[in-house]
C-alpha cells in the first residue's frame, strides 16, 4: 500500500490516470460501443477544446499564478473566427490560423504584463481581462452565428484515418514537448516553486511570467480553433463554463495551485477524467443537474485526497 502511495506521490498525475482507467472500464461496461473506431473521432473532437483549455490554464499555474481568463479567450477566438474573419473573407487557413493565434498570444501577453510588470494580483488581473473578453465576445456575436463550410470542419471529424482532434491536441503537445527541451520549462517551474529563490539564482522571473501567460494564450487560441471545429458556430455563452472547467482539469491532474509542480500530461488526464465521468453519467441516464453535483463532489474529493494521501509534503513530515 505504501509503495502505491509513494508512486502516486512521485507522479502527481497518477491519481487522475487511475481515475481515468477506472472510469474508462465502467464506461465500456455501460456502453460497449464507447470506444468503437467509428465514434473515436467525434469523442476526441468533444474532448479537444476542453483539454486544450485545461492546457491553457496550466503554464500560468506552474509559474505560481493563475489565469481564469483562458476559457473566455477560447470563446473570443471562436467568435472572432466565425463572426469577423469569415465574413471579412480572411477565413482561409493560411491567413486565419496565424491571425487567431497571434491575437490569442497577444491577449495572453497582456495578462502576463499585468501580472508580472504592473504587478497586479493574478486573480484580479485575469478577472479584469475575463470581463473584457466576455464583453468583447458578446459584442462580436451576441447570439450564435452559424459558420459556413470551412477548413475547421475536418478538425472535428477526421483527416484521412487520423482523427482531426489529434492535430489540435498534437500541436499543443508538440509546442510543450519542444519547450521542455529548452531551459524555459525548468525556469518556469523554478519560478513557480519559489520566485525569490529563482530570482536569486538569476532567472528572469518577470520574463518567465510574461512568457507563461503568453503560452497559455497560445493554447487558448488552439482551443478556440478546436471549439470552432466542434460547434461550427459562435458560442459566446460558453465562456464562464470553460473558465472554471479548465482550472478543475489542471488541478485534478496534479498541478499544484501553489506553483512549480505539475505539467500538461497531468492536465490531460484530469480533463479526460472529468469528460469520462460526464459521459458515464450521461449514458447512464442521470439528470444533468446531478452530473454537476457529482462533478463538484469529485473536485472536492480530488483536492482533499491530493492534499492528504497523495501529498509528498505530509508523508515527509510523518516519516
Amino acid at each position: 500500500m505504501n509503495r502505491v502511495l509513494g508512486m502516486f506521490q512521485r507522479w502527481p498525475f497518477g491519481f487522475a490516470m487511475l481515475l481515468c482507467a477506472i472510469l474508462l472500464i465502467i464506461n465500456l461496461v455501460v456502453s460497449p460501443s464507447f470506444a468503437s473506431p467509428a465514434r473515436l473521432g467525434s469523442t476526441l473532437a468533444t474532448l479537444a477544446p476542453f483539454v486544450l483549455v485545461g492546457f491553457a490554464s496550466t503554464p500560468a499555474i506552474l509559474s505560481g499564478g493563475i489565469d481564469i481568463s483562458v476559457g473566455p479567450l477560447a470563446t473570443l477566438i471562436n467568435c472572432v473566427f466565425v463572426a469577423v474573419l469569415i465574413p471579412a473573407g480572411l477565413g482561409d487557413w493560411p491567413l486565419a490560423i496565424p491571425l487567431l493565434l497571434a491575437l490569442a498570444m497577444a491577449v495572453g501577453a497582456i495578462n502576463g504584463v499585468l501580472v508580472a510588470i504592473v504587478r497586479l494580483h493574478p486573480v484580479v488581473a485575469t478577472t479584469g481581462v475575463l470581463f473584457l473578453l466576455i464583453g468583447a465576445s458578446l459584442t462580436i456575436a451576441k447570439s450564435p452565428i452559424v459558420a459556413p463550410d470551412n477548413w475547421t470542419r475536418p478538425l472535428a471529424g477526421s483527416i484521412g484515418v487520423i482523427p482531426g482532434a489529434v492535430i489540435t491536441l498534437g500541436a499543443a503537445a508538440l509546442v510543450w514537448f519542444l519547450l521542455k527541451r529548452t531551459v524555459f520549462v525548468r525556469n518556469l517551474l523554478a519560478t513557480g516553486e519559489s520566485d525569490s529563490s529563482a530570482y536569486g539564482s538569476g532567472v528572469n522571473v518577470t520574463a518567465m511570467r510574461v512568457l507563461a501567460y503568453t503560452l497559455g494564450g497560445l493554447f487558448a487560441g488552439i482551443a478556440g480553433i478546436a471549439l470552432s471545429a466542434l460547434l461550427q458556430a459562435s458560442g459566446s455563452s460558453l465562456a464562464t463554463t470553460y473558465a472554471l472547467l479548465g482550472l478543475a482539469a489542471a488541478v485534478l491532474g496534479g498541478t499544484s495551485l501553489g506553483g512549480g509542480r505539475g505539467g500538461l500530461l497531468g492536465t490531460f488526464f484530469g480533463a479526460l477524467a472529468i469528460y469520462l465521468l460526464q459521459q458515464l453519467l450521461t449514458s447512464a441516464g442521470v439528470q444533468p443537474n446531478l452530473i454537476e453535483f457529482t462533478y463538484g463532489l469529485l473536485l472536492i474529493v480530488g483536492v482533499v485526497l491530493g492534499a492528504t494521501l497523495l501529498s509528498p509534503r505530509i508523508s515527509r513530515r510523518t516519516a
Binding site: R119, L120, H121, G128, F131, T139, L297, V303
Partner: protein, 340 residues
Amino acid sequence: MTAQPSAAALTPVPSREGLWSRTRTLVLQQPILQVLVLAVVVVWLLITVPGIANLRSASALLIIASLLSLAAMGQTLVVILGGLDLAIPGYVIVGAFVSANLAGGQGWPVPVAFLLTIAVCGGAGAAIGFLCHRLKVEPLMMTLGMGAVLTGGTLFLTNGNYASAPPDFLRGLAGVTSTTFGLPLPPIILIVAVAAVLLWLVLNRTPAGRSLYATGINVRAAKLTRVNTTAVWTLVFAASGALAGIAGMFIASFSSGWAQSIGEPYLFSGLAAVLVGGTTFGSIRGSFTRTVLGALILTGLSTIIVSNGLAEAQSRIIYGVIILIVVALYGRERHVRDRF
C-alpha cells in the same frame, strides 16, 4: 502577501514625507478615491438621465446596489483573509430556492426558511473553511466544487419548477414600493445599511475583527500570537455562505421568482464590487464600507451604460477596465527583489 503600498503606509520613509506622499497615504488608507468616483458617477447619471431623479427610480437603484453589496459581503471577508469564494452562485441559488419554492410554494414559515438557508449555506462554507485551513489547500478549487455541488443539488430538488414566488412578507422587504416605518425606503436598503454598520463595528472595534485582519496578513504570525486561525477560517467561510444565501433569498424576492442562472452574475459582479471598492487580497485595507461604495459605483455605471443604449456586453468591458485601473492604482504587489 502584503501589498507594497500598505507597507509604505505603515512605515513612511522620512525623506519622502512630502505633500505627495502624504496625499498618497491618505488616499490609500481612506476610500476617498471611491467617494470621488461615486460623486462623478452620480452627477453623470443625473446629466445623462435626468428622469432618474425621483424617489421610485432612486430606490430601485439603491435596492440593486444593496443586493449586490449583500451578496459581496461575505466575499469581502474572504478576500481580506486572502482567499476567494467561487461558491457564491451556489449559495445564491440555495437561498432563492428556499425562499421561492419552500417558503413561497410549500408555505414554510419565513423564520424557518431563514434558518434553513443559514444552516445549509453556513454549514457548507464552514466545511470549506475548515478543510482548506487544515489541509493547507487553496480555497479556489474547494469553493468551485462546493458551488457545483450546491447548484446541482438544488436544481435537482427544484426539478424544473420555477413557477412559485417568495411569500408576500419577503417580497415586501425587497419591493420597490415598500416603506419602512412610514419612510418611503424599502426595508432591504435599511437592512444592508445596518449590517454595514454592525460589520464595521466588528471589524474595527472587536478582537474578532483584529484576528481576521491578522490572519489575512500572515497566518503564521497570527497563529504565533495565539489567534485561533482555524476558527477564523471556518467562521469567515461560514459567514460568506450564510450571507450569500440570505442575499439569494432577497434576490429572488426582488425579482419575484428565480431561474437557473440567477447566481452567476453575483459572483463576478460581487467580486468586481469588492475590488473596485479597494479591498485587496490579505490586506489591512479591506472593509465592507468599501464594497458598498464599489457596488454603488458599479450600479450607477451600468445604469448609465444601459440608458445610453449600450448593451450588457459593453458594461462587462467597462467593468473589466475599471477593475484593472483601480487595482493598478494601489493594489500592486512588491517586486521579487524586495521580497527576500
